[in-house]
C-alpha cells in the first residue's frame, strides 16, 4: 500500500513539527493553519467534488465558534459536548440554505455570500448572546476527559487529531457512492439526474457535511484563540477559504491541506516586508492562479515529471535522429 505509507509518513512529519519548532508563537500559528486545513477540506467537498461555488463557509465557521464559546462560557458545558454541538448547530443552520442549493454557479455564490453577511450582522448586533463588537473574552481552555490542553503543543496535537479525522472521513466519503454521485453531478447535471441521482438532495447533504466541518473548525478556533470577534467571520473569511482551496488545487484533498498551510503561513513569513506584505500576498495569489491548472497539488507531479523526463539538448537530438532512421 503505497498511499498508506505516504499518509503515515506525512502524519509523522506533522507530529514531529512541535518537537522541531518549540516557539509557542509559531505553534499557535501552526494550529491556526490546521484549523484552516479543516475549513479548506470542507469547502473542497463543495467546490472541488460537487462543483458548488459557495462563499458562505465563513458563516458556519462563525456559528460553530460562537456556539462552542457560549456553551462553555455561559452554561458550563464540557468542551467535548460543546465541540460536537458546534458542528451540529452549524450543520442544522445549513438547512436554511436548502432552498437555494438549486441555484446555478454565480447566483449560488452571491446568495451564499449574502447568507454570510446576514450571519455576520447577527453576530455583530445580538450582543446579549455574542458580546457584539466587543467580542467574547476568556473562552475557557479545552478540557478533554479531565485533561486540560494548557500548552500550545497540546492544542496543536488536538487540532492535528481533528484535522486527520476530517481528512480520513472526507477521503472515505469521496470514494463512496456518495462521492461518485457528486462527481457525476459536477460533470453533467442532466445526465446525473437521468441516472436517478436526486440532485438537490445530494447538494444539500454536501452543504450539511461542509457546514459540520466548518462548525467544528470554528469550535477549535474559539478555544484556540480564546477571544472571538464578529470581524473574524465576515465574508472575507469565506473568500480566504476559497483562495486556500484553489491555490492548493481543485478537487484534491491533500491540495486543500497544502493550500491552507500556504495561505496561513505566507503572511507570517512576509511580515518582514512590512507595508508591502499584503501587496506581495495579492501578487502571489495572482501568480499561483496562473501557474497551473491543479494548484500546488497539481504543480508538484508536473515538476517531478519535468525533472525525471528532462533531456539534455544533445540527448534530444540523438533520439530525434534515431526516429528519423
Amino acid at each position: 500500500m503505497k498511499s498508506a505509507a505516504v499518509r503515515v509518513f506525512v502524519l509523522g512529519a506533522f507530529v514531529a513539527v512541535p518537537f522541531i519548532e518549540t516557539n509557542s508563537y509559531w505553534l499557535h500559528i501552526f494550529g491556526v493553519a490546521l484549523i484552516g486545513a479543516i475549513l479548506a477540506l470542507g469547502l473542497q467537498l463543495l467546490i472541488g467534488m460537487a462543483g458548488l461555488l459557495s462563499l458562505g463557509q465563513g458563516a458556519f465557521y462563525g456559528i460553530g465558534a460562537y456556539v462552542s464559546a457560549v456553551l462553555t462560557l455561559h452554561f458550563g458545558v464540557p468542551f467535548p459536548i460543546a465541540f460536537f454541538f458546534a458542528g451540529v448547530v452549524a450543520a442544522l443552520s445549513s438547512l436554511l440554505l436548502v432552498p437555494i442549493v438549486k441555484l446555478q454557479g454565480s447566483s449560488l455564490a452571491v446568495a451564499t455570500l449574502g447568507f454570510n453577511i446576514i450571519i455576520y450582522l447577527v453576530l455583530l448586533n445580538e450582543d446579549w448572546a455574542t458580546g457584539g463588537s466587543y467580542g467574547l473574552l476568556n473562552v475557557p481552555l479545552p478540557r478533554i476527559f479531565g485533561y486540560e490542553l494548557t500548552t500550545e503543543r497540546d492544542m496543536y496535537f488536538f487540532c492535528l487529531f481533528v484535522a486527520a479525522l476530517v481528512y480520513l472521513a472526507l477521503d472515505r466519503l469521496v470514494n463512496s457512492r456518495f462521492g461518485r454521485a457528486l462527481k457525476a453531478i459536477s460533470q453533467d447535471e442532466d445526465a446525473a439526474r437521468a441516472c436517478g441521482i436526486s440532485i438537490n438532495r445530494y447538494k444539500s447533504k454536501c452543504f450539511l457535511v461542509a457546514a459540520f466541518t466548518a462548525g467544528i473548525a470554528g469550535s477549535l478556533y474559539a478555544h484556540h484563540a480564546r477571544y472571538l470577534n464578529p470581524n473574524d467571520f465576515t465574508f472575507t473569511k469565506s473568500i480566504e477559504i476559497l483562495i486556500m482551496v484553489v491555490v492548493g488545487g481543485l478537487g484534491s484533498l491533500p491540495g486543500a491541506v497544502i493550500g491552507a498551510i500556504v495561505i496561513v503561513l505566507m503572511p507570517e513569513y512576509l511580515r518582514s516586508a512590512g507595508e508591502l506584505r499584503l501587496i506581495l500576498f495579492g501578487v502571489l495569489v495572482v501568480v499561483l492562479m496562473g501557474f497551473s491548472r491543479g494548484g500546488i497539488a497539481g504543480l508538484a507531479p508536473m515538476l517531478v515529471q519535468r525533472i525525471t523526463q528532462y533531456r539534455l539538448p544533445w540527448q534530444a537530438k540523438v533520439s530525434e535522429s534515431r526516429e528519423m532512421k
Binding site: I47, L53, P99, I100, K102, L103, Q104, S106, S107, A109, V110, A111, L113, G114, F115, I117, I118, L121, V122, L124, N125, F235, I239, L242, I243, V246, V247, L250, E275, L276, L278, I279, F281, G282, V283, L284, V285, V286, M289, G290, S292, R293
Partner: protein, 294 residues
C-alpha cells in the same frame, strides 16, 4: 413615516442606487464578455474616486471635470489590470475559477497600493455644491443627491447610446453574445474584451467620484460597495444590462428604506434576504426578460 422622510428616502435611495448601478453595469458587462465574476470592480471605483480627489487637490476644477478625471482613472486602471493580468491568465487557459480567485488578489493589491499612496485615513472631498438645500414645497433636499441622480442617469443613457449606435459598442455586444461568430465577422474579440474592461472601469470611476462626494474617499471604500453592486447585478439577473441598472436602483432603495423603517443595524441584512427571496422565485433575476434584447 412622514411625507418629507419618504421623499428624502426616495432621493437618497435613488442616489446610492445610481452608484450601485454604475458599478453593477461594469460587473455585468464583464460577465457577458468573459464570464469572469470581477470582484475587484469596487476597487476600480475606489481608484476613480482617489484620482478625482488628487486632481482636485492640484487644481481647482469644476465638478464635471473631476468626474471625467475619475472616469479616466478607473478606465486606465482597468486597462492595465486587464492587459497585465487577466489577458495573461486567459492565454494560459487556466480554469475560470482561477481567474475569479485572481480578481480577489487584484482587489487586495489595489487596496494596499492605494493605502501606500493615499494613506489609511478617510479623505474628505471638498464640498462641491452649495450646502443650502433646495426648497421643495416646504422641506429641503440636498442638491448633492439630485446631482448624483442626474449625472448617474446621464452616464447610463450615454452607455446605452454607445452600445446601440457606435460601431465599437455594437462590436462589443456581438463579441459578448457569440465570440466565435463575431470573430468570423472580423471583430477582434481580444480587443473588444479589453475595451469592455475599460468601459467597465470608466463606469466604476464615475461611481467612485459620485460616492466620494457623498461621503469620504478611503482605500477600503470599494470592497463592501463592490460586493453590494454584485448583489445588485444578481438581483437584476446577471448578464442583462437593463437588469443591472434597475437592480442597482432597486437595491439602493431597499437598503435606504430598510434603514429607515426596520433597523439601521440590519439594513444590509434586509437587502440580502430580499436577494435570496428573489433568487428563489426567479433564479435568473427579476429583469432578465426585459433585459434580453439589449
Amino acid at each position: 413615516m412622514s411625507a418629507e422622510q419618504f421623499i428624502q428616502g426616495i432621493i437618497g435611495g435613488l442616489a446610492i442606487g445610481c452608484i450601485y448601478s454604475l458599478i453593477a453595469l461594469g460587473i455585468t458587462m464583464i460577465i457577458r464578455a468573459t464570464e469572469i465574476l470581477h470582484f475587484a470592480q469596487g476597487e476600480l471605483m475606489m481608484i476613480g474616486s482617489m484620482a478625482g480627489l488628487s486632481a482636485m487637490w492640484m487644481v481647482d476644477l469644476p465638478f464635471v471635470l473631476v468626474l471625467v478625471i475619475g472616469m479616466i482613472g478607473g478606465g486606465v486602471a482597468a486597462m492595465l489590470i486587464e492587459l497585465s493580468i487577466y489577458r495573461t491568465l486567459r492565454s494560459l487557459r487556466v480554469p475560470l475559477i482561477n481567474i475569479v480567485v485572481a480578481t480577489f488578489g487584484v482587489s487586495l493589491i489595489l487596496q494596499n497600493v492605494a493605502r501606500l499612496v493615499w494613506g489609511s485615513e478617510p479623505l474628505r472631498y471638498p464640498s462641491l455644491f452649495t450646502s443650502r438645500g433646495i426648497d421643495l414645497g416646504g422641506f429641503a433636499i440636498s442638491p448633492q443627491l439630485i446631482w448624483i441622480v442626474v449625472l448617474g442617469f446621464a452616464m447610463m443613457v450615454i452607455l446605452q447610446l454607445f452600445f446601440r449606435y457606435t460601431r465599437l459598442g455594437v462590436a462589443m455586444q456581438a463579441a459578448a453574445q457569440d465570440p466565435e461568430a463575431a470573430q468570423l465577422m472580423g471583430i477582434s474579440v481580444k480587443k473588444t474584451t479589453t475595451y469592455t474592461f475599460v468601459v467597465a472601469g470608466v463606469m466604476a470611476g464615475a461611481a467612485g467620484v459620485l460616492l466620494g462626494s457623498l461621503f469620504f474617499a478611503s482605500f477600503n471604500m470599494g470592497f463592501l460597495v463592490g460586493i453590494k453592486a454584485f448583489v445588485a447585478a444578481t438581483l437584476g439577473g446577471l448578464g442583462s444590462l437593463t437588469g443591472a441598472m434597475l437592480g442597482g436602483i432597486a437595491f439602493g432603495l431597499i437598503e435606504t428604506f430598510a434603514g429607515v423603517l426596520i433597523s439601521t443595524a440590519y439594513k444590509d441584512a434586509v437587502g440580502m434576504v430580499v436577494l435570496i427571496a428573489i433568487l428563489l422565485l426567479a433564479p435568473s433575476g427579476i429583469f432578465i426578460r426585459a433585459g434580453r434584447r439589449i
